[in-house]
Symmetry: D2
Subunit: 362 residues, 4 copies
């Protein structure tokens, strides 16, 4: 199979680099186009990253490529090497929105890591194992904007990906979830590079991440929502309360979750069986980036742990552990996933594979 | 005033050392007697700690004192330098219980950091600002055991002290608390020395601490309980669900707390006023170890933080921040206190001061 | 004694804050004037630091003071509250140099933490215990520039202060030092705030700090130099080779030092005696900021350590340990000092005290 | 090719686990026999490690294997699944020595990670790229002990492996090395598990590792030595002075090295060429564990770094960087290698491959 040439917008940042690194040996896609801020335009990728390459091998593989100006979608079109783009832009939301729109308008589909379009009501927020059906909104989106081949999809915030899939598995099995109280311990890579000051992270914890709690509380409702009249209507439940904390960990977000079900409540053993058996469309059709098992149950009493479990399932699985009854709600557990792979670049690549499978790309 | 000579059992461990360090310039008490395991007995304190002294100055001040065998209460009696003891023993619970009993039987009151007697129903679990009235059980305790002057009090687990006082302040102001979901990020010093392996704490979080969640869920109910018929009866509420995590922090436990009140609910402003105004008996009678203000409110959006706030109020205050409505319960906040001072040795010294004030000591 | 009102230039940065914090209860000086970049000018100190205050208490004490524009020395003059300034400016060297000159020209002596003037040949680089005699150059400096009361002194780079004083003590005792190979492990606060990215400092070491090795190799030669013809001539020895590394430590620089003496070589015991007995002018005249003992010898085999020893002697002492023969040179040891106190703000305050003692200030 | 079944002594420790993990998909060897202390004997590997498995996948692959008593070599013989053993024993040296002897006497060659036999004069201390010729001593060793097929080889301490190969490459190219001053920053995994207390490694550095400096100074001389009269005679040079420090890093030892050559001195460019071109016997005969390039030169000014470079060349390469003239000696550089792979288990497996290639095994 001839590989599809793809572009990366925001190629020099942490998520952009992670994306490039993960695409290096991809069976379907290949890097065809790199773009970043005007400041980087015209430089080689090696020069543009100024030695700040966080992933082994990508300097050798792509260091000589010329970086283009991400503000000019027409360059991507002209290059002929950009069938669609991954957007890992780090700018003001307003700017990202119009920039992503300009690529879609230029018939270049945009698979975005950025949060800018998450609340645009006809843009799906995709977790491939959970709401792949939301890709059906793409036709309405194209029509509303007058776009032809182009469209935009986004992925949710990294903080929720360590528990939304396990909860979805329970919903799908028929257990309504009414309320959720979640406390996260999030890795510093979630803030990009240089991101969090080391002076704040040595012998310390910061019990606050800007806008993170709001995203954590609202995005799951859109993901679990339904398409109605050309837009995605939020689910009414679960009610979510999130406490988001930054901890001295490089990669891997951990969440402590207390769950209240509706009238019908699963036993611990039922939950374990549901999680162990859960497979989504990515698993059924064997998408390249899909983890064999989306939810991995750890039986040890002190797992999952970020350093030991973040790379499970090619860093694309969610590891869960400490499943036990909750004194206040019904049950509680600890969920963990790799924030820059599952929660960002890898999740986006999986979304692209899903869209390719559904004939929206290439 | 002549200082009261006191003993420290378990003088070589982390909490024992912290206790000695805090007593160094105490206005009422002075170190008169040190005891530890038979292995240390007969050695100087410097030899017994084998260079493992974690607190500046105590080697110079006490290094030459002879360490006695903690198993033999009669030595403490004979020394004439041990009006009461702080117990920071690290042994099996069963052994600690009988050992603490033997001191009390020998007319030496025991102010304990150990968890052994926390569920003995006539032993009070004291937070001086919260349930100083529980000292009234001491007479019943003495009588039941046939002890004369001796008695035992304990302090609760360090993990709960960053939120119990703020919650008590609200209870006292007339707001019933029904339910509580708490997630903690606890410092490694809580595990003693050497305690947690560095290999587990670099680039990592461990979402489990043995027995900690059980203690966190049950001890507050005893502290908030009432004396009835010579024993302390647990309070019925609040229901508590605790998620306890170990994070790479030296000192200072942080808790993310979601609170559900009864029918009557305070506003955010009322809560702030209650906390800012809260003073307990230790403040009223100006006990030496008491922080001027037991609850310190941080207004910054990213505080309290362990490294920056653990030492507030002589490391005896609870710092609270991020007070805001909870999406699921009524309100949420972050609480923080120093686990080896407020949560252990310092809390015990404050308890001793309280007992001295009430004429139970010296 | 009426306190002398002093100014702090660069008041919002890490070293500026440290300086303000250390001056809070100073017996001779009091904060009279704060200045920072034009961006901060006109704001209160609390606003200008935007919640980024790293030292307890200074927000309460100085948060309401108005911050002035550091670029305009005339404001400092007009304020009448700025007898001299501590400069903790963080800008391009060229700009700092001309700005510090403008204060000196305006009759406001400048005690600088910045490196800008370290290689100006009539500006002394002072370690108060080592080369206080270099203050004699001030007259020549004033004359050459046409300044009246104003002048400039600087302090050396923080990285060298954990070993220069111990080496000077040996020189003073008559032992020539020919060569030195030094490897440092430096704290992140040395890079200011936000400084080093946490992503670089978790589970990692960075074996490079820009310009630090050059400073470490050259500045000691000026400090050990002599005044000749109105300038300071560098000492010819020792030859120094420095390896400078950044490690995940908040405060406290550690250095591993191998020393080669001239023909006359001290024994280990002689070195210990020289260090234990060493006192400088700050100790003799009891300057307020001077540590009682400038060099503290640790006898434990695993000390000094940054977290345990950086605060020794009010964070102004140098702790040394592991003194032993060197397999290649003559002897080796580990030196440690607090980089933002002894190595920066505290060192500057001590220099100011020295200059006040010598009648150059107030 | 049928795989050779091998045993691991000390299978439950950190290095034993690392060894098992690396052998999992080995093309020549397969795990046939696991042994540990009597306490573990008879348990499954999963039980014996009590959930303390640090490497993904080995619980699944080997968890069900029965662990034998390492003290009884006859069990290994009887098993028929132990053609030779990797020794990763953690006991007193004396015991390890006699235990390793007992396996060799039982015709089971011992490839040891332990330090016990490093100074036995007919036991070679092997770095496969450096002194593979020392395997010639095996015949003399067997003869002196009356052993048949059995023999013992060891690997050097992990701390020296980040600089000995680069130095050897220069020696081999004809540049005599006279003196060396080295300062290391070593990872905590070097101390095993639980090893170093987290309380010592948060916001701290420990400038001491027991016996490490002595090993670092003496072992290279044996490795660079020559076989004479049935024993290995140490090389006379280089003189080495080592400062060994523990830093908060999980894996990867870093060394700052200053080198003095003899009369003939290479230029920086010559050194780079020698290092880039260096290949040893493992590379020539393509041993499975051999890194393609034993020495990897990093050109960035802030590399190598432990987290970013420890895994280079399958974690078997030495990364070097910051090559520059030394102010005191001739040149200096930073070397880095993975301490539990290159420096321990991986190095031993490479040694076994070398011995197999030379027909001493299987």
């Amino acid at each position: 199979m001839k590989k599809i040439p793809v572009g990366v917008l925001g190629a020099t940042g942490m998520v952009g680099q992670q994306c490039i690194s993960l695409l290096r040996n991809h069976p379907w896609f290949e890097i065809g186009y790199l773009a970043a801020s005007p400041r980087s335009a015209g430089k080689t990728y090696k020069e543009a990253t100024a030695g700040r390459i966080h992933f082994a091998g990508i300097a050798d593989a792509y260091g000589g490529m010329i970086v283009h100006d991400a503000n000019d979608a027409s360059q991507a079109v002209k290059s002929g090497r950009c069938a669609f783009v991954f957007s890992a832009l780090e700018m003001a939301k307003q700017e990202i929105r119009s920039l992503e729109d300009s690529y879609a308008a230029a018939a270049i589909p945009v698979i975005s890591n950025a949060s800018a379009h998450r609340w645009t009501e006809d843009v799906p927020v995709l977790i491939a194992e959970v709401n792949h059906g939301h890709t059906d909104i793409i036709q309405a989106q194209r029509k509303a904007r007058g776009w032809g081949w182009g469209f935009i999809t986004v992925k949710p915030n990294c903080s929720i990906q360590c528990y939304v899939t396990p909860l979805y598995a329970l919903l799908q099995a028929g257990y309504e979830i009414k309320r959720l109280i979640v406390s996260t311990m999030q890795a510093v890579s979630g803030a990009g590079y240089p991101g969090v000051s080391s002076f704040d992270m040595i012998d310390n914890v910061v019990p606050y991440i800007g806008d993170e709690e709001e995203k954590s509380e609202q995005e799951p409702l859109k993901i679990l929502g339904a398409i109605e009249g050309g837009v995605i209507r939020n689910a009414a439940l679960p009610e979510i309360s999130a406490h988001c904390n930054r901890v001295p960990v490089t990669d891997g977000h951990t969440a402590c979750v207390s769950v209240e079900f509706g009238a019908k409540k699963p036993s611990i053993d039922e939950v374990k069986k549901i999680w162990a058996d859960f497979r989504g469309l990515p698993q059924e059709v064997k998408l390249p980036m899909a983890p064999e098992q989306p939810i991995i149950i750890r039986e040890e009493n002190d797992r999952p742990q970020p350093r030991r479990d973040r790379d499970a399932g090619k860093a694309m699985a969610v590891s869960v552990g400490r499943l036990r009854p909750c004194n206040v709600f019904d049950l509680r557990f600890v969920g963990l996933s790799h924030n820059t792979v599952r929660g960002a670049a890898g999740g986006s690549i999986l979304n692209a594979e899903l869209l390719k499978h559904k004939k929206y790309l290439g």
